[in-house]
Amino acid sequence: MPAKEVRLLSATAILGYGFPEASLKAGMARQPDMIGVDGGSVDPGPHYLGAGVPFCSPIAIKRDLRLMLRAAIEAKIPLVIGTCGGAGGEPHLDLVAGMAREIAREDGLHFKMALIHAEQTPAEIKRRIATGGIHPLAHQPALTDAVVDRSTRIVGMMGPEPFIEALDNGAQVVLAGRSSDPAPWAAMCIRAQLPPAPGWYAGKMLECGATPSIPKGHDSLFVTVREDHMECEPMNPIRRCTPLSVANHSLHENSSPIHHIEPGGMLDTSDCRFEAISDRAVRISGMKWTPASQYTVKLEGVELAGYRAICIAGTRDPLLIGRLDNFLESVRSEVATKAAAFGATPDTYQLGFRVYGRDGVMAAREPVRDAVPHEVGFVIEVVSRQSREMAAAVLGVARANMLHTDFPGRLCREGNMAFPFSPSDIDVGPVYRFSVYHVADVTDPREMFPIEYETV
């Protein structure tokens, strides 16, 4: 009898990043037990969770989803997507579920679909605060009711257990809100009675599509998981996995390369071995899984910070560049006076001058301090706590004063700034900031993640 194995196909790094159709076909020809893709990430910042929108365009998401749905239904295997719509809140899950229904109608597909919800109600989070079941991560302050009330949206990050339940109940298409990236893949392995360690490791590879291969690109990855190891291979013949490319991927987005904290336990990669089994496939073994004494669910939440307006400008004037800090201080003080005159006192907004060509990328951590650039670019930024209109009003004053404020030795009497665009000012809209980054103790790993089923 052949050794028990689970065969997993990941279409790409994020739903909506795209992948070559030929890679998906090559992966399907290997007869996977499941096809999936990671639907999102916290990496693009707090905006998407707050605004309830995806960071990939709906057009791009639907293209990827259609190809994956057709492939899964034809092969009669599950399609599983975690962190739908980029941030995994209710509007994000709604968006992708709506697309799945639309594609099914357009293409004549039929399936049982599970929607796993991850958005948390303020009342529920406050109940958990009251029982002492919420703890901060990354040196954040303890969570309070006031922060919960201020937060626009809070999601919990599910582990594999809700996915296992949805698959056990016969769902062929599983769309989930915020999930630990490897969880859908780990779920499939744990459900097949494989040990958790190789399943979690497989998930760590698959959640980024072909990223563990070289050349890096948004493409498909095939992983075979067995009792004590897993093998991974990219589906596009132009890419290959090497022991180094695979080992390198275990460093990705984690604070430690050897201890990976996941819901319910810790994946230890200290003693992993990476062996090439062909010139483009790698076997990884030696991973260990230590169950946690307390199962915790990570919480992510954001609150409204204000309204942003920005303006892009540049200068090629060495006389101005030579006294930039003094100049920017003059502009700041002009703005303080003029904006206060129409009701925007300095405590109601933040004004920033990002100076590209000097320290626009590293800010206070920029080590090069003595270079004199021949030109510099500015992003002038206002975040108003009052309103969108007030952000635009303060920015307008800042832009006009960047253009006209005088400085000693000035020869360019007509204006100090080159604006690349008309209109020069851009209304960015609401700005969010992270407000919740905590974990919640749970008794049942599924208790925060209700599942709905429908026949499509």
């Binding site: 693009p44 180094l244 460093l251 990705h252 604070s255 200290s270 920033g352 951590r365 700005v431 900031r433």
Partner: protein, 103 residues
């Protein structure tokens, strides 16, 4: 003089969640990795100095299996907060490139 930019296969930075930055330096083979590790140049104090962060806030881990060194420390400001310059944290590796490894 051997600079990291000449000796390493990978030198990169990235968010590890919205509040931390993680920096990786990876070498091609066990031999180079062993020599680099023996110099002791890659250590918490180096990251403390280059990124202006207290040494006790640097989580530094050599990872023998991948010929890699990883350092994780707090971001200047949380991702997306006012004043953040690099939401993904992926352009903070440059100060490491010119670190000299006496190998």
């Amino acid at each position: 003089m051997t600079l990291i930019r000449d000796a390493a296969r990978v030198c990169k930075s990235k968010n590890a969640g919205p509040f931390e930055l993680t920096v990786d330096v990876v070498f091609d083979d066990a031999e180079t990795y062993r020599k680099v590790k023996a110099t002791g140049v890659l250590c918490p104090a180096l990251f403390s100095r280059l990124y202006n962060v207290p040494e006790e806030h640097v989580l530094f881990t050599p990872y023998d299996a991948a010929f890699a060194f990883k350092a994780t420390f707090p971001r200047l400001v949380p991702a997306g907060e006012f004043g953040d310059t690099d939401v993904y944290g992926c352009q903070q590796h440059a100060p490491l490139l010119d670190v000299d490894l006496p190998i």
